[in-house]
């Protein structure tokens, strides 16, 4: 009964989404206030209906209703409750439902926080989001229904993929989807602006906080996924250039470009057409990513053949959304003005150059991800494109972007001069070059990649420090007042940029200085790595709720002084009969000590892999700083419009990121 209610709620949601997508947009074109007024109530009704459907599915999981096909294939009676709930988005159908829920969350948020928008603009934005929702609901109801019944019902479920049975599963996908789907708001703003022909600074200002918020979620989602892979997959990697990761990374790159481009559009009125194009691309890549990951086409081009209807629907939907919005762009963009004049050397041109680099990087990732598919589909042979390719291609594209990142915020708007910039940045340049040469020599290992990575990290540190110093110097006011006189969004930019530096430093150090050993360890054996002694004290057998595990005990000491104990596990999940490794990790600011159990050998011994990963935590801490910087930028008071009557002082409206 409950699944039928969910199914019915989805059908109603589709009808409401159609109303939300069609009438307000036509109403906005004709100036019909009643039709435009339908947008807000429809958005809220749709939200309630989709949430009801989601709760019904979660209820079916919680109560172990194995007469629902989707529940039976993604859950099991032994699965703990938190993972039964997370299993709602553990498969194809449910993750589409999560997508729809999150889209309706964003839509309803826009409907509440858009009172200051002109009513036609608001109607168009909500209408576009309604149309996107129509696509997803129609897809679910026609070919991918999570509520489909199984006759006769299964005795028990086939269980959730053991890889996904992890706390990371509970919040990583919702976080990531908040980011993906969040770009639909920027997309809807862009389409609404194209439809209405109102691409101005106000549009950019309204669109900015939404875009930044989506970017914050996407950053956190990618970070959580990377951290999860690090401790769950058991070989200490944190980024694999896997197609699924690339699918989330492409919208991030374009979204980053979009945030910066919006900043210029708001502040200087330039880049309007480019900003709109980026908004369209960011969301298109999110859509493409969702479907790439969820259609199974990545594992094999022939996955489409198992259910051609799904593939056809996906292709048609992508063509409609991406093709339609690009056509609209081609038709309306030439009418958009060009904005203010600026010189070849100016903050605008630095930002634009960085935009080009980010866009090229995103296209390259797309290229590498899809290339094997195309070759295979055209019958030109099977190839693999993996980390060695991406590392080779990506580094030369990102290095200049990171370099420009140090220059952009310091350059003047409209017209800067190279000699002036060189004067101001000479110390930063000297410090970062010196660090890049001396630091690796002190640590005893120098490669060109280590040198380049350290140079870029310290370049960003030093230029940002220079920027902050210039802004805060002078003694006419107390320091606190000088700190406060800069806007939140400016501080947000500073922190996010420092986050990139922290991230770069972490990546460089861990890639350049990590070490590992693979040893045979009997109880009592000691292995040595990076000055630490790892004593293996054997394994104990433990029983989990739905798995049994061998739990290793490894004592870590340095110079005879005991430091800590880590417990890597080797688990066997019963239902799918799948072995899993759980790494034992001792994390710290300086380095992680990481061990994973391999196979049991004769005489109570195990094969054990031990890794020393210097500064690997900085990789994720850098991402956290970026996300925090984004949040700080959103909390800027110029976005809190209520009660504001006079324009803000100049420094507060100065664009930052």
């Amino acid at each position: 009964m409950i699944p039928e209610i969910g199914h019915f709620a989805l059908i109603l949601a589709l009808i409401v989404a159609l109303i939300q997508g069609v009438f307000p947009i036509i109403g906005a074109a004709r100036g019909n206030a009643v039709w435009m007024g339908l947008a807000q109530p429809a958005a809220r009704a749709q939200f309630l209906l989709v949430v009801v459907a989601f709760i019904c599915l979660a209820y079916a999981f919680a109560t172990m209703d194995y007469s629902v096909t989707y529940v039976a294939s993604n859950s099991n009676s032994k699965l703990p409750l938190q993972y039964r709930i997370a299993a709602v988005w553990g498969g194809h159908e449910g993750s589409l439902l999560l997508w729809a829920v999150i889209l309706s969350v964003w839509t309803v948020a826009v409907s509440f926080f858009s009172k200051h928008l002109p009513s036609a603009m608001r109607a168009r934005i909500l209408g576009v989001m309604g149309l996107i929702s129509v696509g997803f609901l129609l897809f679910m109801l026609s070919v991918s229904n999570p509520f489909e019944r199984l006759m006769p019902a299964a005795m028990d479920g086939r269980d959730l993929n053991p890889l996904l049975q992890d706390p990371g599963m509970v919040f990583h996908p919702p976080m990531l989807y908040m980011g993906y789907v969040g770009f639909s708001v920027a997309f809807a703003f862009a389409i609404a602006a194209l439809l209405g022909g109102e691409l101005d600074s106000a549009w950019a200002r309204w669109s900015r906080p939404w875009t930044t918020l989506a970017w914050v979620f996407l950053t956190l989602g990618i970070m959580a996924g990377s951290n999860w892979a690090y401790y769950e997959l058991g070989w200490g990697g944190w980024w694999f250039w896997d197609a699924v990761e690339n699918a989330s990374f492409m919208p991030w790159l374009v979204g980053t470009a979009l945030m910066h481009s919006l900043a210029v559009t708001e502040k200087r009125g330039s880049f309007k057409a480019w900003t709109v194009l980026l908004a369209i691309c960011a969301f298109s890549l999110s859509l493409l990513g969702t479907f790439l990951v969820r259609s199974g086409v990545l594992t094999s081009v022939h996955a489409f053949a198992t259910d051609p209807r799904r593939g056809l629907f996906i292709l048609a939907f992508l063509v409609f959304v991406i093709g339609g919005s690009l056509l609209l762009f081609a038709w309306r963009a030439p009418t958009v003005g060009r904005g203010g004049k600026f010189g070849v050397v100016s903050r605008e041109s630095f930002l634009l150059a960085n935009n080009v680099l980010l866009a090229v990087a995103a296209i390259s990732v797309l290229f590498g991800t899809l290339y094997p598919l195309f070759l295979d589909a055209l019958g030109l042979g099977k190839i693999s494109v993996g980390p060695p390719y991406f590392d080779t291609v990506f580094a030369p594209l990102m290095a200049p972007a990171l370099f420009l990142m140090g220059v952009g915020p310091i350059a003047r708007w409209k017209q800067a001069t190279l000699p002036e910039l060189a004067m101001r940045l000479r110390w930063a340049f000297g410090i970062s070059v010196a660090t890049a040469v001396i630091l690796p020599l002190l640590l005893g290992h120098w490669t060109p990649m280590i040198g380049l990575g350290l140079f870029l990290a310290f370049w960003i540190f030093a230029t940002t420090a220079n920027l902050v110093y210039q802004r805060l110097r002078g003694a006419d006011q107390p320091l606190m007042a000088r700190i406060k006189s800069n806007s939140y969004s400016w501080w947000g930019m500073v922190i996010a940029h420092l986050g990139i530096a922290v991230f770069t430093l972490g990546v460089t150090v861990v890639k350049g200085f990590e070490s590992e050993i693979a040893v045979r360890m009997a109880p009592g054996d000691v292995a040595h790595l990076a000055g630490f002694d790892f004593t293996f004290e054997g394994v104990t057998e433990i029983e989990g709720p739905n798995y049994s595990a061998s739990r290793g005990h490894i004592r870590i000491a340095k110079n005879g002084i005991e430091r800590t104990l880590i417990n890597p596990e080797k688990r066997l999940y019963h239902v799918q009969n799948m072995p899993m490794t759980e790494a034992g990790i001792s994390p710290s600011v300086i380095h992680d000590l990481y061990a994973s159990l391999g196979e049991p050998l004769d005489g109570g011994a195990w094969s054990v892999r031990i890794y020393h990963k210097p500064m690997v935590e900085w990789v994720w801490f850098g991402c956290l700083m970026m996300a925090f910087g984004g949040l700080l930028a959103i909390s800027d008071r110029r976005y809190r419009l209520k009660g504001r009557t006079k324009p803000l002082p100049e420094h507060a409206t100065e664009i930052s990121t």
Binding site: H116, P118, D200, S201, A202, G234, W235, G237, F240, D242, A243, G269, T299, R338, G339, G340, K341, F342, G343, V344, L352, A353, V356, L357, A359, V360, I363, S364, F367, G368, Y371, L380, G381, K382, I383, S384, V385, G386, P387, P388, Y389, T392, V393, P396, I517, A518, V519, R520, M521, G524, D525, V526, F536, G560, G598, S607, L641, K642, T645, P647
Partner: protein, 154 residues
């Protein structure tokens, strides 16, 4: 005095402890061979896995293939020879670094061609813009409209 006595005890205990503990043996002997196996398995695909390098995979088949590479490395075969052998057996699919040939020219040079095109396009566009006469980001009328919209209370 007390301190010296304590330190001496600690040292004695440490000595005893280290005498008890056995050195863990590396799984495989031969540092140079292992380095070569590691280097190669980071470039090669585990053929039965979803999308993993040989170095990353825990699957049995990956272990077998690593063993095979180890055997070849022990015989003194070079990286190139081992890769060639594996490509002959499994096709280009086994390499995560696609070989440079007619079908992959676009893959290897596409991104850099794109960067070049983007750079040239950007430069031309900046030059053209610098010469354009337009200098006002917003006309006075537009600015008034924007402010009116932004300041409109809900």
């Amino acid at each position: 005095m007390k301190l010296i006595f304590r330190l001496a005890t600690v040292f004695c205990l440490m000595f005893i402890a280290s005498a008890w503990a056995d050195e863990a043996r590396p799984l495989h002997d031969g540092v140079a061979v292992e380095a070569q196996v590691q280097r190669l398995s980071e470039e090669l695909r585990c053929l039965v896995c979803q999308n993993q390098t040989l170095a990353d995979s825990h699957s049995e088949l990956a272990e077998d293939l690593r063993q095979e590479i180890r055997a070849m490395a022990t015989k003194g075969m070079s990286d190139q020879q081992i890769t060639d052998y594996l490509v002959e057996r499994y096709g280009d699919f086994v390499r995560y670094r696609p070989p440079l040939k007619s079908t992959t020219l676009l893959l290897w040079f596409g991104p850099f061609a794109l960067l070049l095109a983007g750079g040239i396009g950007l430069f031309l566009m900046l030059r053209r813009r610098e010469k354009s006469a337009e200098d006002l980001p917003l006309s006075a009328d537009e600015a008034r409209k924007v402010n009116a919209l932004l300041n409109k209370e809900s």
